[in-house]
Subunit: 707 residues, 2 copies
């Protein structure tokens, strides 16, 4: 079976080829008139400048961690850490960075093109924006497959590791580089984009009363740059990490469950088929020239649902031929279905709680009638309440995939301890996560399309294109909010499954390495204390990222106020504001603020391990996974609902634009910004990074722990 492991290359080549074709298609469109080109160029420059600075900051941190890893690996002669891990750390970081970078490059090249295409027709606008999203989506999965395949080849054929369990336990550590890079990209990009957004809105919209994206607002270019470095580059790195992480965790569990190479081949094959199904789905995304917004959504949904259904259909023969009935292949198939269906359901409920087509957000908008305080209380309770759906779906998915994959014949026996079927059940949870992400190519395309449409709208506004163009880009943008909600649902849901898979891998690896009799029972005080630390880490991490946004946003507020005050003629449109100053401030703020939370995610699990030992680490991972998941859902959904409640009011409900109700809703939206675009999505990465860090440093912790 191990001879088929190269199939990952097929998936990688197909995905990257498809991305290249889409890129060519996008670049063949016109970038519009001189003003549009000039604005697009400013956004490109700002985004490139930020990423350059970000990468150089990250490079320093990577260098330090790399040296530490090399020392641990080589000083212990590979005992505490595989000698490959430091290098895998670097490559993972680089690929993840590339995934974000390529996505951002195409996004900054597509925004003016989308605006120009939208000035011709809604359908053309959709096609440019969606193609741009597809470049990102397929680059992410293509690079992911490439990374995994190359390392599989190096470890198996190069280093001659013939034991799948050993290989699984080494390769699962390779996720750390991608996770680490993703955290920097998400946190840094998230702080940048929200500092610019909050800053621009607070002074421009609230104080000066000028519209969003108005060229007189000095922070408007920074705001548009933010969409690209946060919502595109950050998201690309994030989902690269999710994709690779879910596959690697399943590798380790598959080997441990006794499935050997088959256990690794199945997630690879599933991913490759998912890429092919996503490409097929992409061809279905098109509408007639006189498309309405509703038909646009139908068109996007046709694409993603077709891809998911095809994947589900193909998964059956894959399970049958790779595992066979003697290995409970139908149980595993059910687990994959759980992932696919669970992801879709989470997406649906995310939409239910955040879209103004449904009751919760409508009721939230109504809370604006009694002012800012009640809309804040309402949004927080809406977000907290919305965790019920995601958590129940994930809980049911975990249980079904575990019991289906573990064989349901002797449930009570399995509960007794670490039997073989226990490990097979856990493999089911891992493969459910891979199933959920198998069609990431197309779901990410629909997600990444949003920021492009958003930017296109900004360019249309700033370059003074006719009202109807702005209406079209608004339609595209609003659609993007819906698809983004679905995309976030997938990311959060898969993160929880992957985190659990990594947690289990950690326990397997630790028990493999030690003769200590470790008590992972929940009532063990070290496990309990670990749980508390895990919850604390989630809360403190969220606090730090939110506070960072606030600090950076306040500096923008001060600067924008200064420009309005000191530069004569801005308000009359006679003088250009100094856009560059805001861009520079955001860059400085984001870079300054992103390091501490990212380091927290590395240092806390190591220190916890050194003091409490592996049992404390397991508690910590349990605590951070559960609270991190719940907080991520809460923050994303509260933020999304506030955003849409504001838009709902802007469409003329509850007093419409400019009313007191609208002002209250703007406060809600502003609070929601760091919730949904900085803290919330970063938590997905945090929970996986903690697990991977714990796995990588498990040798060190086992050797030196205090309790």
């Amino acid at each position: 079976m191990e001879n088929y492991l190269w199939i990952g290359f097929i998936g990688a080549v197909l995905a990257l080829l498809f991305a290249a074709i889409q890129r060519k298609k996008v670049m063949s469109y016109s970038e519009g008139n001189a003003t549009m080109q000039k604005i697009a160029q400013s956004i490109r420059e700002g985004a490139n400048a930020y990423l350059k600075h970000q990468y150089s900051t990250v490079a320093k941190v990577f260098a330090v961690v790399f040296v530490v890893l090399v020392i641990i690996a080589f000083a212990s002669g590979g005992e505490m850490l595989s000698k490959f891990t430091p290098f895998a750390f670097l490559t993972g970081g680089i690929w993840s960075m590339l995934a974000g970078l390529i996505g951002m490059k195409i996004a900054t090249n597509s925004n003016a093109r989308t605006a120009q295409a939208a000035s011709e027709s809604l359908n053309r606008g959709l096609r440019v924006a969606f193609s741009s999203g597809a470049v990102m989506g397929f680059t992410v999965v293509g690079l992911g497959m490439l990374d995994i395949s190359i390392w599989l080849m190096i470890l198996h054929f190069g280093a001659g590791i013939t034991d799948p369990v050993q290989l699984g336990n080494i390769i699962v550590m390779n996720g750390i580089g991608a996770s680490f890079m993703a955290l920097f990209a998400r946190v840094g990009g998230g702080i940048y984009t929200k500092a610019a957004d909050v800053g621009a809105d607070l002074v421009g919209k609230v104080e000066a009363g000028i519209p969003e994206d108005d060229p007189r607002n000095p922070a408007t270019i920074a705001d548009n740059v933010g969409d690209n470095v946060g919502d595109v580059a950050g998201m690309g790195a994030d989902l690269y990490e999710s994709y690779v992480g879910s596959i690697l965790a399943t590798f380790a569990l598959g080997a441990c469950a006794g499935y050997g190479w088959q256990g690794m081949l199945l997630p690879m094959a599933l991913a490759v088929c998912g890429i092919i199904c996503s490409i097929i789905g992409s061809f279905l995304v098109k509408t007639k020239e006189d498309a309405t917004q509703k038909s646009l959504l139908t068109s996007l949904r046709t694409g993603t649902y077709t891809a998911a259904i095809l994947s589900a259909i193909v998964a059956a023969p894959l399970c049958y031929f790779i595992l066979g009935p003697e290995n409970n292949c139908w149980g595993i198939f059910i687990a994959i279905l759980c992932g696919l269906i669970g992801g879709t359901l989470i997406g649906y409920f995310t939409e239910y709680f955040t879209s103004d087509n449904y009751k919760p957000t409508k009721k939230l908008a109504a809370a604006s009638e009694t002012g800012a305080a009640t809309i804040i209380i309402g949004g927080i309770s809406l977000g907290l309440m919305s965790t019920i759906a995601s958590i129940l779906i994930v809980a049911v998915a975990i249980l079904i995939s575990y019991f289906a994959a573990g064989g349901t014949t002797s449930i009570l026996d399995e509960m007794g301890g670490f039997s073989l079927s226990f490990n097979q059940g856990l493999y089911g949870i891992g493969i459910a996560g891979v199933g959920m992400l198998s069609t990431l190519g197309i779901t990410l395309a629909t997600d990444a399309y949003g920021p492009v449409a958003d930017n296109a709208g900004g360019i249309a506004e700033m370059s003074g294109l006719p009202e109807e163009v702005r209406d079209r880009t608004d339609a595209l943008d609003s659609l993007g909010n819906t698809t983004a909600a679905t995309g976030k649902g997938f990311a959060i849901g898969s993160a929880s499954l992957t985190a659990l898979a990594l947690l289990v891998s950690y326990v397997n690896i630790v028990q493999d390495r030690t003769v200590e009799n470790l008590n992972f029972t929940l009532t063990s005080p070290t496990v309990l204390v670990g749980l508390f630390i895990g919850a604390m880490l989630t809360f403190v991490f969220s606090a730090m990222t939110m506070r960072s946004v606030q600090t950076a946003a306040q500096s923008i507020v001060v600067e924008v106020r200064r420009q309005f005050r000191e530069i004569a003629g801005i308000m009359e449109g006679k003088t250009d504001p100094e856009y560059g100053k805001c861009v520079a401030l955001c860059t400085k703020g984001a870079l300054h603020e992103m390091v501490a939370p990212a380091l927290l995610a590395i240092i806390v699990p190591i220190i916890t391990g050194l003091i409490l030992g592996p049992t404390g680490v397991v508690g910590l991972l349990g605590g951070v996974s559960v609270t991190g998941f719940a907080m991520a859902v809460f923050m994303s959904n509260a933020g999304g609902a506030w955003d849409n409640a504001k838009k709902y009011i802007e469409r003329g409900n509850h007093g419409g634009k400019g009313s007191e109700q609208h002002k209250a809703a703007v406060v809600g939206d502003t609070v929601g910004d760091p919730f949904k675009d900085t803290s919330g999505p970063s938590l997905n990465i945090l929970i996986k990074l903690c697990s991977t860090v714990s796995i990588v440093f498990s040798g060190l912790v086992l050797a030196f722990h205090l309790l």
Copy 2:
């Protein structure tokens, strides 16, 4: 040893006697002029009317639960549930209710007396208010001791249960009635008080621009009633539950640890000594006639710290004579110290994060410069960040008390499994919780004094007493905020320790009852799913209670607006507003909204148990304890900081009263209201109620669980 168990009666009698003396002292003061008496009477009537309605609603729910318990107990012939439990459920509920009721009666009799006394001197005001708090504090501990002692006698001497393990496992279930009542009182009272407060502020302060407690505001009586039914009656029931719960949980653990009757006598004796030390401390609370606010605080602190230090000193001989060196008495003594010191430290850090004497709240007030949105973001991140102190203190307290009590000689062995020293270590965690609450008499007195001072201020304002009286009551009130923060720290800290003790008792009881080989390992899927459900329960419970406040507050807003609009002459002070309508609306809203969250706390653990089995329940209890603790700290501290940031601005900082900054701070304070007085404190009870419910229904769950 069991012959000494009656000493609880000594404590009970002393505490109740002291409370009676204090009550007499308070009642001997004058209630002031006719206006003051009239207002005090309105508040009393509103509060009594509310409690009457509340108790009749609760009585119905209690009747249903009682019948269910009787059926389970008697149908199974006492197998699934002790036949005593249904009756203990009733008595616990009644005592808890009484604790709140007596506290509220004295509070509503003290508010006008405090205002009158404050018109003579600050010191006299302090003494009336503090004595009133002492009535509540010592009633709570006295009734608690009485309840426990009576049941000990009934079970041991009446029913002839001579095995301490069996008795411990039965009596631990007796906490359920108190917890259940407390949850209703906290949630119902919390909704009432915050609906009235938010409603009064939103229309009165924000829209109409009249001061707080202005008699022209139709919601002002309801607001003052709310202080009594929420902050007094709710808090009394809450801390009654905490006190009894921590002692009962330690009983069960002590027996299990092999300490027999000694294991029960120690927490009883500790509590009795705590009562005596608290009485001594109370005599130290007095100042000179020309007292300043600072000397007031010093005076209160002298009382509480003396009580705590005396308790610590007395605990040493108690441990020595009851347990003896052969039972690791010094280890247990260290655990008690951990509780006392931990509680004080949590109190200190709560103050650090919420008082405007320190940097965090000052920085939060500064965030008002950029508007409501940034002060909201700032408060949320402050609250999230503040969990770091409480969680680390609790974590260290757990570890030290566990290892000290479990014997530190063979740490690694202990980690291996359920050895004797494992259970002794867990007893250490339980007794730390008792230590933390041993001086509850006086800490609760300083806490309960706050709402009385608050009400006194309201009466002074409404009855037009001179400015200097209002200044004095403000000084008393502001001091009350500080002591309330300390009190909340104790409540939250002890809740986390008690919850863990109950969690461990649950595992012991379940393993005692079944031959099933239960896997409580954190990586077991049912435990993991349970963890998720626990986090979800915390989030959904918080969402429901917040939403209830919002719903009830919105009805008050509509009513107050209506009265301002329809009743001519209100604003000129010529016509009295219809206070009764707001009181009735709050009552209706609170009663309507309190049932669902309370039932959630009972139903979710049972359903989880019936589906996932005992391992899922353990996961749930772990999840709800950890997330509930973190959320409670977050919500209480964020709310406290917003409140004090607003007060800081009102004292002339950042633009002072009436400025845009002040308006922003009022939004923050309004959001913080349900955080700190409804959802946050209810979570303390939730986590213990879940544990007790799980213990009571463990027989049912073991018999019928699905997985």
